[in-house]
């Protein structure tokens, strides 16, 4: 297969409307296996809408998403606009185990290999001591790590993360980025990561998707930093800030 042609998912002219107003319109991009894409854009620019549309959580008003031949395993970390119910009696390991259900056939059972996997990801994210705690009683950053673990536990082929580092402390944040880079490098995991941490994401992601209701830029970081159009669009300072050229 020609690696130029190989795509894991392709957005073709994707538009989404809420009521009358268009949140995103006419976005066309092709994502290749192994891509590590930072998705950036101002508040309300449609980043969350774009990934939700890809996941089938909001209906498209136009266009389509085309996935690669075989069904792909997806890990998803939603943006924390709706929260975990603090009254729900779910322990940390139970919540992480939900991430493993996607690969299973009926009847979906958690076996001992799964349990080892849960322990593994929990200790990668530094929450192994919280395993039996009720998720509702954790601190904000601890909860965020549980949800990260849930998204990563089944070794997905695409990981879609909506502002994953919010609420994480700097130490954990660095660990987390390292983990992602390792997954990306070692297992060719495709990563889509929405972030406002534009000054930092360039150190990790290798591609750059800038959305502002429509597609503004999609390409590698080097391309972005070299693009005159982008210099025009953002002004020289922002590009400088993102590209860390100083």
């Amino acid at each position: 297969m020609n690696s130029e042609e190989e795509k894991i998912v392709e957005a073709v002219n994707v538009s989404v409307k809420y009521g009358q107003t268009e949140a995103i319109s006419g976005i066309t991009i092709a994502i290749k296996p192994g891509d590590y894409i930072g998705i950036v854009g101002p508040n309300g620019s449609g980043k969350t809408t774009f990934v939700k549309a890809m996941l089938g959580l909001v209906p498209l008003s136009e266009g389509k998403f085309v996935f690669g031949v075989k069904p792909v395993k997806i890990g998803y970390l939603p943006q924390r606009t709706s929260a975990l119910d603090p009254k729900f009696p779910a322990s940390v390991s139970e919540v992480i185990s939900h991430g493993l259900l996607s690969e299973k056939k009926f009847p979906r059972r958690i076996n001992s290999a799964d349990k080892r996997r849960i322990d593994e990801i929990a200790s990668m994210l530094g929450i192994e001591t919280l395993k039996n705690r009720n998720v509702g009683s954790l601190s904000g950053g601890q909860q965020q790590r549980v949800l990260l673990a849930r998204a990563l536990v089944n070794k997905p082929e695409i990981i879609i993360l909506d502002e994953p580092t919010n609420a994480l402390d700097p130490h954990i944040r660095e660990n987390f980025y390292e983990l992602l880079s390792k997954l990306n490098a070692e297992t060719q995991t495709t990563i889509l990561l929405i972030t406002h941490d534009a000054g930092n994401i360039g150190n990790h992601a290798r591609k750059f998707l800038y959305i502002d209701r429509k597609l503004i830029f999609f390409g590698s970081f080097n391309e972005f930093c070299a693009s005159c159009e982008m210099t025009e669009y953002f002004g020289p300072y922002a590009q400088h800030y993102i590209c860390k050229r100083h």
Binding site: L55, G56, L57, I74, Y76, P78, L84, D85, K87, F88, P89, A90, S91, E94, V95, S97, H98, G99, L101, S102, F106, P107, R108, R109, I110, N132, R133, N134, R150
Partner: protein, 274 residues
């Protein structure tokens, strides 16, 4: 003390007490398992709500001259799916959706009762069962129901749990959210329809809510909550029936009050712990 025991031994010799104990425990297990899911999804009042809806279905059955139970079960399954659909499509809270179906059910029942002129029976009498009047076939029905509910919960445990906790994530994760939800609603409506006939609305509704909230007071994991809920339910039925016999109280009401007592105990335990 000695006399109490001999009274209880006497009680156990009655077929109606034996049946009440067995059927009561079976129904209690069904309700308490489903209850945990229902309470967490803000569908606590579904027992009450569907019993109101059953009012209309019984009126409808009498109008068609059909067996009320046979007509009610499919209609209640429909009603429970309607609650689910309102919850999703109209973006309503579960309890509001239940209230709407309940209100519409009662109103339709009253309307049918008024305009039909064809029947002169009290519609409520078809709804109310008594745990002390469980027949042989009803006992078999309870066994069958219990087996069905336990299988559903056991086979779909992880799906049900995942969907109850975070429906959006479950959806992305490839779980058949709609199908599992409909399965839960169907199981619930059959349990309620049969349960109302067997042990009455009051007891069904209470057995859905009380054991679950009691378990939620002191459970940090979901599995513990399920197990605790079932234990509380079974204990309340057994101790309630015996207490009712000793004190000459109505059995259903005693079981409900026993449940209330167990809740208070678990509430105190939680308070002491923290």
């Amino acid at each position: 003390m000695h006399q109490m025991i001999s009274e209880l031994v006497e009680a156990l010799q009655y077929t109606f007490i034996q049946r009440a104990l067995i059927a009561g425990c079976l129904i209690a297990v069904c309700c308490s398992f489903l209850g945990v899911f229902l309470v967490l999804r803000k569908l606590s009042m579904i027992g009450d709500g569907l019993s109101h809806a059953a009012f209309a279905t019984v009126a409808f059955a009498l109008l068609l001259n059909q067996s009320p139970l046979l007509v009610s079960i499919p209609l209640l399954m429909l009603a429970s799916v309607a609650i689910y659909a309102l919850n999703k499509k109209a973006n309503l809270y579960g309890d509001a959706a239940i209230g709407m179906i309940a209100g519409t059910g009662i109103a339709l029942g009253v309307l049918l009762a008024s305009i039909s002129g064809g029947f002169n029976v009290d519609l409520f009498s078809y709804l109310f069962g008594s745990i002390l009047a469980v027949g042989k076939e009803e006992l078999y029905a309870a066994m069958f129901l219990c087996a069905a509910v336990i299988s559903v919960v056991a086979l779909f445990y992880n799906e049900l749990f995942s969907i109850s906790y975070d429906e959006e994530f479950a959806e992305v994760n490839g779980i058949e959210v709609k199908r599992v939800n409909v399965l839960l609603m169907f199981t619930t409506s059959i349990t309620i329809a049969l349960g109302i006939r067997l042990v009455g609305t009051m007891l069904i509704s209470s057995l859905i809510i009380f054991p679950a909230v009691t378990a939620l007071q002191i459970s940090s994991s979901f599995k513990k909550a399920l197990i605790l809920s079932a234990s509380v339910a079974v204990f309340s039925v057994i101790s309630g029936i015996f207490a009712a016999y000793l004190l000459d109280f109505p059995a259903g009401a005693t079981i409900v009050l026993m449940n209330a007592l167990l809740f208070i105990i678990s509430f105190i335990i939680r308070r002491i712990k923290s």
